[in-house]
């Protein structure tokens, strides 16, 4: 079965994700009528829309059958994918952890993995708490009114990840700007061209993304030199000095690793933190409940990850004929793991459109699942917990001071403006 074109177009439309309700309505229809069906938005190759929680988990656990890197890892129009292949000889502009498979993926992941387990990151807790206090102080000095996204949520996770990577604070604005240009290429406020959907050719859009990647690569080439000369325990030093079978990582592997760590490592957490404050500001009862019982902060963080679902999808490609939930998937078929939908699956989550602190049972899968589950998930949880532990005891009340606004993107995104007013204890 093929989804109606209008529905398929909505699933691909960055504006639907910015709207929120539009994308929720589209996926609700998909889950009710054709939860695993093909779609072909205008300008795209056909792909399966995997809308259910169970089917996303099934596919992610079979990472030998469903590859990340055989085609574009995110939803890319036909023209864009062809141009990328012509430019770099691979389906993805950046060869990172999310676009490699098999032994290469295991080897690359193994470089940083031992340093980001729950046990390993405990060593960072005190330093991260110091950073959280700095940003809480910044917020408290705004006289009760701020844009929480811009003033806190964008900057705190950036400082945390850059500290872990070994990037100096003076380089943070550069990293933030390039991250936004990389992930928000449909949003005229954030992309490099300053143009909206339909205002620039696909070629110009791709050239702009290439320039962003080249700017990041130029920066990280210097990082490699620095950390090879003077190795440290920072993650960038691990990447610079890592060897697989006695050889340093090749150029694309190394650049891809730096780039994903320095971009996805904070943008996702920023989006989740902004969305969490948005939810909190609209729910005074929940705010009071957490203040009364700070042990609920862990549940609040976990639910905010499900709620925000900062990565809207990843794509997979079938390496062989197979079957999922009764549907015949053919070799080379392209599949969208629609986390946006799976995290609202009524079959798994009771009242999925309610923000609840008492969810038990089903695991939210916004970090993905299986071998490609987010490498930094434990760090992300810890830094969000610490921020709320530091901030909430100081606040007496918080409410929205205007309409929050989401980034225009169908990939990695969340609120870009969350205006609030607050009072202090």
């Amino acid at each position: 079965m093929m989804l109606p074109t209008q529905l398929a177009n909505t699933i691909a439309d960055p504006r639907a994700y910015a709207d929120g309700e539009a994308i929720h309505a589209a996926f609700r229809t998909v889950r009710q009528t054709a939860p695993l069906a093909q779609a072909q938005p205008d300008g795209y190759d056909p792909f399966w829309v995997v809308s259910r929680h169970a089917d996303v988990m099934t596919i992610e656990r079979q990472n030998d059958i469903f590859h990340n890197g055989d085609r574009s890892t995110f939803l890319s129009p036909k023209e864009g994918e062809t141009m990328v292949r012509n430019l770099v000889g691979e389906p993805n502009l950046i060869r990172s952890l999310v676009s490699v498979d098999g032994q290469e993926h295991r080897d690359l992941r193994g470089i940083v993995f031992p340093h980001v387990t729950p046990k390993a990151i405990r060593a960072w807790e005190d330093s991260i708490r110091v950073i959280a206090r700095e940003f809480v102080d910044v917020m408290l000095k705004t006289n009760g009114k701020c844009d929480f996204a811009k003033d806190v949520a964008l900057l705190y996770p950036l400082r945390v990840i850059m500290t872990v990577l070994g990037v100096p604070p003076e380089d943070e604005p550069f990293m933030l700007r390039l991250t936004q240009e990389l992930f928000s290429n449909a949003d005229p406020e954030l992309n490099r061209l300053g143009k909206g959907i339909g205002e620039a050719s696909a070629e110009d859009g791709l050239k702009a993304l290439m320039q962003v990647a080249q700017d990041l690569e130029a920066y990280f080439s210097e990082v490699t030199k620095k950390y090879r000369a003077n190795p440290t325990s920072h993650v960038n030093s691990l990447i610079a000095n890592a060897k697989i079978n006695g050889e340093y990582l090749n150029y694309r592997q190394m650049m891809g690793y730096y780039i994903i760590a320095a971009t996805a490592g904070h943008d996702t957490t920023s989006n989740t933190t902004s969305a969490a404050m948005w939810a909190l500001a609209e729910r005074p009862d929940m705010f009071a409940q957490i203040k009364k019982d700070p042990a609920l902060i862990n549940a609040f963080v976990e639910e905010s990850i499900r709620w925000a679902v900062p990565v809207k999808h990843f794509m997979r490609t079938a390496t062989q004929d197979t079957e999922v939930a009764g549907q015949k998937i053919k070799k080379d078929d392209w599949l969208m793991l629609a986390y946006q939908s799976a995290t609202r699956d009524e079959a798994v989550f009771d009242q999925p459109f309610e923000f609840r602190l008492d969810r038990a049972g089903a695991q939210q899968i916004a970090f993905g699942y299986g071998a490609h589950v987010c490498l930094g998930q434990h760090l992300a949880r810890m830094e969000m917990r610490i921020l709320w532990e530091e901030l909430l005891p100081k606040l007496k009340s918080v409410e929205l001071a205007g309409k929050p606004e989401n980034t225009i993107s169908n990939f990695v995104c969340g609120p870009k403006r969350v205006p609030i007013t607050f009072t202090l204890n």
């Binding site: 993995f113 695991q363 699942y369 589950v373 434990h378």
Partner: protein, 54 residues
């Protein structure tokens, strides 16, 4: 013999198979897996594993 599933990534620890690559012999009961052991795929701690239905 039971199986235990990681909540975060779905990795399965099967008591019958153990994890010889990590020095955990086949037949090692979940209770005998060291408390500081963690999921080899995602780092999740032992306490966040759930028993699979029999």
């Amino acid at each position: 013999m039971r199986k235990w599933r990681c909540r975060n990534c779905g990795f399965i620890y099967d008591e019958a198979l153990g994890l010889p690559a990590e020095g955990i012999a086949p037949g090692t009961r979940w209770a005998d897996v060291p408390e500081d052991w963690y999921c080899p795929d995602c780092g999740t701690e032992k306490s966040d594993f759930e028993m699979e239905p029999a």
